[in-house]
Symmetry: C2
Subunit: 310 residues, 2 copies
């Protein structure tokens, strides 16, 4: 997988909206992983600027994550091709519409998939790998957990599978390999890395989170989101069960909350998206140190794996 993507360690940094900027992506790529820039709801020209910024900070491969529900998706789909971005990951939908075009431009496409049916479909359409993301991940999530989803995706498709969701240290990497993955994607742990521009309050909240400190909201709207418990998510959860609150009101209540968390550290009104392994993340470190630490732990555990063999 490392050869396929031109990276040193089989680790992707999650394309987290507002967090995954040029600084973070280039730091991860420079450290030998695959840095990913989030296109989120950006207009095309804004994304072009971020891509060019990233290129100034690293000469290694990086990817752009395209959020398919973005109002500017047509524009950004063009921009990644014009800018010859080597890799595109996608989320919040299936990218079939753009795949033939991207592939014809030499872009490798790696969709995030929540089920075997979607995995098969995107591979038929030319995906060179897929990211199997379990619902323990932070942000927008599906229903299946990494432990259940990953082996099923590996059985369903012949391409490399990257495991995402619930991976916070070397144990998670080793487990993902056992389940059939050839690489991992890590989000929450990179939120608190030195090179992440997430607000100090966000970082502190992740660093101090315990095991039961995340909650999934938005199931009623059909797009569940995992975030840290706080006044915002608690109120959202309450409104969600209330039939007097319309879906539109619920959507409106959630709108802009992630930006408030990442940029302003608004502890009450922000939506601090993080995965269930936030509790395993206890130190702010440089991206390179995180990667080295995770893989040396994984290698140690994998070497000891034979002790279980009778």
């Amino acid at each position: 997988m490392c050869d396929l993507f031109g990276i040193e360690f089989p680790i992707f940094q999650g394309g987290m909206a507002w967090v995954a900027d040029a600084g973070l992506a280039s730091a991860v790529s420079n450290a030998g992983g695959l840095g990913i820039v989030a296109a989120m709801n950006m207009p095309g020209e804004a994304l072009r600027e971020v891509i060019q910024q990233t290129r100034q900070l690293t000469d290694r491969p990086f990817a752009v994550n395209i959020m398919l529900m973005s109002p500017h998706v047509e524009e950004v789909a063009q921009v990644v091709a014009q800018e010859r971005v080597p890799l595109v990951t996608t989320g919040a939908g299936t990218p079939e519409k753009y795949m033939a075009y991207w592939i014809s431009c030499g872009i490798k496409v790696i969709p995030v998939v929540p089920s075997t049916a979607v995995a098969r479909r995107v591979v038929r359409n030319g995906a060179c790998a897929v990211i199997a993301e379990g619902c323990e991940a932070g942000g927008h999530v599906g229903e299946l957990t990494t432990m259940a989803l990953l082996p099923q995706i590996c059985d369903a498709v012949e391409v490399p599978v990257i495991a995402a969701g619930g991976i916070g240290d070397g144990r998670g990497i080793a487990a993902a390999f056992m389940l059939g993955a050839t690489g991992v994607q890590v989000g929450t742990r990179f939120v608190v890395c030195h090179e992440s521009s997430a607000h100090t309050t966000f970082k502190q909240k992740v660093l101090s989170a315990g095991d039961i400190d995340t909650i999934t909201t938005g199931r009623r709207l059909g797009h569940p989101v995992r975030a840290l418990k706080n006044p915002f998510t608690r109120k959202f959860a309450k409104l969600e069960w209330d039939n007097a609150v319309s879906d539109a009101e619920l959507e409106a209540y959630g709108s802009g909350a992630l930006r408030l968390a990442v940029q302003q550290g608004d502890a009450d009104r922000g939506c601090f998206m993080a995965g269930q392994i936030a509790a395993l993340v206890n130190r702010e470190q440089p991206a390179a140190e995180i990667i080295r630490e995770m893989f040396s732990q994984a290698e140690r555990i994998l070497s000891e794996g034979t002790k279980w063999v009778v």
Copy 2:
């Protein structure tokens, strides 16, 4: 762990209500795993009979799973002691109230724990091991996934940790070991073993289930349950979002649905509890074959683990 419990393979069979009877538990124990009899809502004397039945079918260790919300919990707590059951697992609450008594009777106590706080508490009270169960499991579930919960429980306590939830084949066992478990608990795959008395319809539903065929209902009531999607669970999910339906009505709607599934195979009104890995379960096999197959696959994968080491 095998020495601690007097078993050959570090695998527990889940204490599934209505399914985990003397026939299934003895088959698993005879195959070298730990068979578990479910006390569910049984009166004490009914449980005593099942225990004695199990003893006639196996001379190996087995456990009783005590559901702490049972109306007969006081009685069954006595019966397991009187019958000198070697091991007790517990679910649906924390067993502190009974632990000193059981331990004084020589019973090893192994609670199912949904969080690190509960794990620490039961270990302080003498639990000799804990079962960390992720929400991909079938039946009553917590919020954390196996991938996220397991390493955190392993960090929190010094006793052996058994992984449950999402384990359907040798890959799951190998992954659980990497995350720090010393054993696994398997439910769904044993539902369809030859020695399981679950209704043919239940078995068929598990055998034909796909990856997205389970759903969690009951969150509004504070005790979520994972089961296969069918008219019963779909209606429950709908009622759950309806404020005009009281909690009592919702409880009443769910009452008895599991028994209808297991004993009568009622495809419409039954609650077919199963985990997300139901899709990995494709054959009805003897319990002994399941265990051998899972561990030989796990051993093979673990032996190959070093290929990942650079």
